[in-house]
């Protein structure tokens, strides 16, 4: 076992890990941050997406040791300081972009990464970007709508209900 330290959601955190400890397991078990989820074992589903040093990363496919000294943001860090939902989170609630909630943390983190690099994505760009995030509940329609809304674009561009 070795000790690893990193900044998580703005706070300095550390814990004991093995060389093989995945970042997602360090977050969930080591730090008790269970908002990041494990949905598969082949890096496909995206429920584990977090940000490491500003980039979206699948936490199931990264060793905790490789993130030593880095800056990690998880879903728990996406709210406003006063505890209210952040803009992307609020857009997901406004547009019913989640049902069971299990894929949602990864969706929000991916959405945030997308909007950081492409502030006004088209519907097609959003759908393409989300290839690495699987949702079984929503059929993606309202997730796309939520991300369009969070980007400040007119959501009637997403087919009318």
């Amino acid at each position: 076992m070795t000790k690893v330290s990193m900044t998580v959601n703005g706070r300095s955190m550390s814990g004991e890990i093995e060389g093989r400890t995945l970042l997602v397991d360090f977050l969930r078990q080591g730090l008790g941050l269970t908002g990041t989820h494990v949905g598969c074992d082949t890096s496909q589903c995206g429920a584990c997406v977090v940000h490491v040093d500003g980039k979206a990363v699948k936490a199931c496919t990264v060793f905790a040791a490789d993130v030593a000294g880095g800056e990690v943001t998880t879903i728990e860090g996406m709210g406003n300081p006063d505890g209210t939902l952040g803009a992307i989170q609020q857009a997901f609630q406004d547009h019913h972009g989640l049902q069971c909630g299990f894929c949602t943390p990864g969706m929000v983190m991916s959405a945030a990464a997308l909007l950081a690099e492409n502030p006004k994505p088209s519907e097609a760009e959003i759908r393409h970007y989300l290839e690495g995030n699987i949702c079984r509940c929503t059929g993606y329609h309202n997730i796309v709508k939520a991300i369009m809304a969070a980007s400040g674009q007119d959501v009637s561009a997403v087919a009318a209900e």
């Binding site: 269970t34 728990e76 069971c100 943390p105 393409h128 929503t138």
Partner: protein
């Protein structure tokens, strides 16, 4: 003006705050002090005789507490089947034992052979690999027709691979055959309804705990129905009385049916927790989910439709082979029989119908209900053969359907397959569909696609489904071993807030929001004053859980009944406070008033009086304001609608792209339109997934080839379009207090035929008329091959 609160409002979901903040409490998020970890050794061959399982090395490995095999479960019952089907000769189905851990034989890849419990999951996994198996391989039974005909037996002790040969309605078979012999036209279609893996995004988890000081067992599990698990596991498997067994299904990340069933892992960890006097936690991996979670569908069907010269349906005759997998899962026998045969009338007035189903054991993962459960299978075969008949007879596929509809004035309608449709208007949903799908503009779009070298097709279909399950006495006669009522306790607090404890469970459906909307609407208070509690058998009345699109229709009805008991009692209290007669008391907007006067008392004051009964009719009325109700529906509900899909087919590659999908549904009354639309969206994606992408694939040795998300094509955001959905056609259910029909499964039921009809349409419009059917999933390879002929 859309409503902004109460019934009919698109109230934002209160569940979202915790899910979006990463504060959901899913079962894997929970860790109990001192817990040990379980890992299951799973069969890697599909069929074999177990000579020996040597756990000596495994038991000695670091961190290992104990290794369990079938011997340890000798005193424990097998997993029960909740539905007994009677075959066409009046005999009960064959029902082999379903052990917790494999006994004597391996019967499918993934079957649990042993359970290792260790201090850490990694240590348990390492030890599982050290278990030595001595197995004599047996030929794998994979093909259903071959299995039914004889040969190697999956279960030697029952003497056959045919679980049952079911006929419905058997007494009508001769008349059906006669109608076919005389028919002007017969259309035949052979098809496969492809095996699917439900794959909710949360893998299954089970944590067993035992407190020896109170003799109390607790199971935390990813279930859609904790009370059902408590009943099945307590009464039939582990012999624990219900008051000593608490089952908790906290936040659950989707189910779609796969989390209804009582699985071996639940019983195994509960048993182990008592044996070891420590909590025992098991978390499934996704790879494990593919070989242990019940699969869905897997029917091979031949359907024949007899028509007269004008295209009126005279008779339907079907023969289906339905895969049960290696063992009977909890509701498996009911899915291809009562949930499928009874829907073969569809939206139409076909007078004579005969359905034959042969359920077969094979060396594959057990198959059971998956979103739609039997109704997608019925709808697909019916709507595809209707389309085929339309082409053969040169009749427009919409007109052919319209002329055979149960017409708007013909309800209630008794079908020849037992069910009675209470109400519906299939002309209206078809009219609405053609409008929202802009069917009139299709030809122009087709011409545009053709310029780009693509074949464009428009596929339409109708559907009806039977849900809101179910009337207990009816399903009891059909073989159900449980009731299908629902329950609610409405507890009013002294200061006016309300807690509803419901037997329904929410794993994505938003009941915490919608149920509160109903109560708020009934009393006229703010939704925020009502909390909904579900998922824990310790604090909710006995209910059958959430599946079969039943929560609002049955659970909501129980809640309405309990709320009406509360309101009736509150009116008596108000009458006392207002010194008026109870008959004159009206409740509106959260206040009780005396009709025709301005005397009133608010809800809060009445609640306080109930719990501080100083000015109170104690001689006639107990204090308190809390009521419980159970609701057993008198019929199924029958949502129905019409769907349209437009596709582009690339004739060079066979690739199918969905350009648009429109759904016109009749769900009766709707509580939260936004949530209803979301349910349809999700169902459509699953149906499109079935039609184009998904398929559990086994080789001839029973090895699962599609065992991960790399190999099993889940629909992703760029596989589906934005949908056009409408539920403005509303014929309220006539037999439940809310007039709701339920909406959870319709999208998955009605969509596969639209997609396939669209592809066939595209090919025919492109002159490729030799293709009359392609089996799902319509992968580019399959479409391309079909084009080549």
């Amino acid at each position: 003006m859309p409503k902004d609160h109460g019934i009919g409002a698109s109230s934002k979901r209160r569940e979202d705050v915790r899910f979006l903040s990463g504060r959901g409490r899913y079962t894997d998020d929970m860790n109990l002090a001192g817990q040990a970890h379980a890992v299951f050794l799973r069969a890697q061959v599909a069929h074999g005789r177990i000579n020996k399982i040597d756990t000596t090395d495994a038991a000695a490995m670091p961190g290992v507490i104990r290794v369990f095999t079938a011997e340890d479960f000798a005193g424990v019952g097998g997993l029960p089947c909740g539905w007994q089907v009677t075959d066409r000769h009046g005999n009960a189905m064959l029902e082999p034992k379903h052990p917790i851990l494999a006994e004597g034989k391996i019967r499918y890849v993934g079957e649990a052979l042993a359970m290792v419990v260790a201090e850490t999951e990694a240590e348990a996994r390492d030890a599982a690999e050290a278990i030595v198996m001595d197995v004599d391989d047996l030929p794998a039974v994979v093909d259903m027709k071959a299995a039914a005909a004889g040969g190697t037996l999956v279960h030697d002790d029952i003497g056959s691979n045919l679980c049952y040969d079911w006929g419905f309605v058997e007494e009508n078979k001769a008349a059906v055959d006669e109608a076919f012999a005389k028919a002007d036209h017969v259309t035949t279609l052979e098809l496969v309804n492809n095996r699917l893996a439900p794959n909710p995004m949360e893998p299954r988890v089970a944590i067993g705990d035992y407190d020896f000081s109170t003799d109390q067992h607790t199971l935390f599990t990813t279930s859609q129905n904790p009370h059902v698990i408590r009943l099945l596991m307590g009464a039939f498997v582990l012999g624990i009385p219900e008051h000593k067994l608490r089952v908790v299904a906290p936040d659950v990340g989707g189910g779609f049916g796969s989390k209804i069933f009582h699985y071996a892992e639940e019983a195994a960890v509960t048993f182990a927790a008592k044996e070891l006097r420590r909590p025992v936690k098991w978390t499934s991996t996704r790879s494990e989910a593919f070989i242990t979670d019940a699969h869905g569908r897997d029917h091979v069907t031949k359907i024949e439709l007899a028509l007269d010269k004008e295209g009126h349906f005279q008779a339907i005759r079907t023969e289906t082979f339905a895969n049960m997998g290696a063992y009977l899962s909890t509701f498996a026998p009911s899915v291809p029989t009562w949930l499928h045969g009874t829907l073969m009338a569809g939206n139409y007035k076909t007078p004579l119908i005969y359905v034959n189903v042969k359920a077969v054991f094979t060396n594959t993962v057990p198959v059971d209900a998956y979103r739609g459960a039997g109704r997608p299978e019925a709808t697909f075969q019916l709507e595809r053969v209707i389309d085929k008949a339309a082409r053969e007879m040169g009749i427009d596929p919409v007109d052919l359907r319209r002329r055979n509809f149960v017409q708007p004035g013909e309800f209630p309608y008794q079908t020849p397959v037992a069910v009675v449709y209470d109400t519906g208007n299939y002309q209206a949903t078809m009219d609405k569909l053609l409008e929202i799908a802009d069917a009139a503009g299709f030809e122009a779009r087709r011409a545009e696609s053709a310029k780009a070298g693509k074949l464009r097709g428009l596929g339409l279909n109708c559907y009806i489904e039977a849900c809101g399950i179910a009337p207990s006495n009816l399903v009891g006669q059909l073989g159900a071993r449980a009731g299908l009522y629902e329950s609610a306790t409405v507890r009013v607090n002294a200061t006016g807030g309300i807690v509803v404890m419901t037997g329904s469970h929410s794993h994505g459906q938003g009941h915490e929001t919608t149920f509160a909307q109903v109560i708020a609407d009934m009393i006229g208070i703010d939704e925020g004053q009502v909390d909904i509690v579900h998922g824990d058998t310790a604090n909710t009345p006995m209910g059958m859980g959430t599946y079969g699109s039943r929560s609002l229709a049955v659970g909501g009805s129980a809640m309405v009944r309990a709320a009406n008991k509360v309101i009736n009692k509150a009116k008596k209290i108000a009458a006392h406070l207002l010194e008026a007669s109870e008959a004159d008391i009206e409740l509106k907007d959260g206040a009780f008033s005396v009709a025709g006067t301005d005397k009133s008392v608010d809800w809060g004051s009445v609640c306080l009086a109930a719990y501080v009964p100083h000015n109170y009719p104690l001689e006639d009325l107990e204090p308190g304001l809390e009521e419980t109700a159970f609701y057993d529906p008198s019929n199924f509900t029958y949502p129905a609608g019409a769907y349209a899909c437009e596709v582009e087919v690339d004739p060079e590659t066979g690739k199918v792209t969905i350009c648009s999908f429109a759904a016109a549904d009749d769900f009766g009354n709707v509580v939260n339109p936004m949530i209803v639309e979301g349910q349809v969206h999700g169902g459509l994606a699953q149906g499109i997934g079935q039609a184009l992408l998904e398929g559990v694939s086994y080789d001839e040795n029973g090895q699962l080839l599609s065992g991960s998300y790399m190999d099993y094509a889940m629909p992703r955001a760029d596989d589906v379009p934005s949908y056009v959905v409408d539920h403005s056609c509303q014929t309220p259910c006539t037999h439940n207090p809310l007039g709701v029909k339920g909406c959870g499964e319709a999208g998955a039921i009605g969509s596969p035929p639209a997609v396939v009809n669209a592809v066939i349409d595209a090919l025919h419009r492109g002159g490729i008329t030799h293709v009359t059917h392609i089996d799902m999933p319509l992968t580019p390879g399959r479409v391309w091959s079909a084009i080549q002929g």
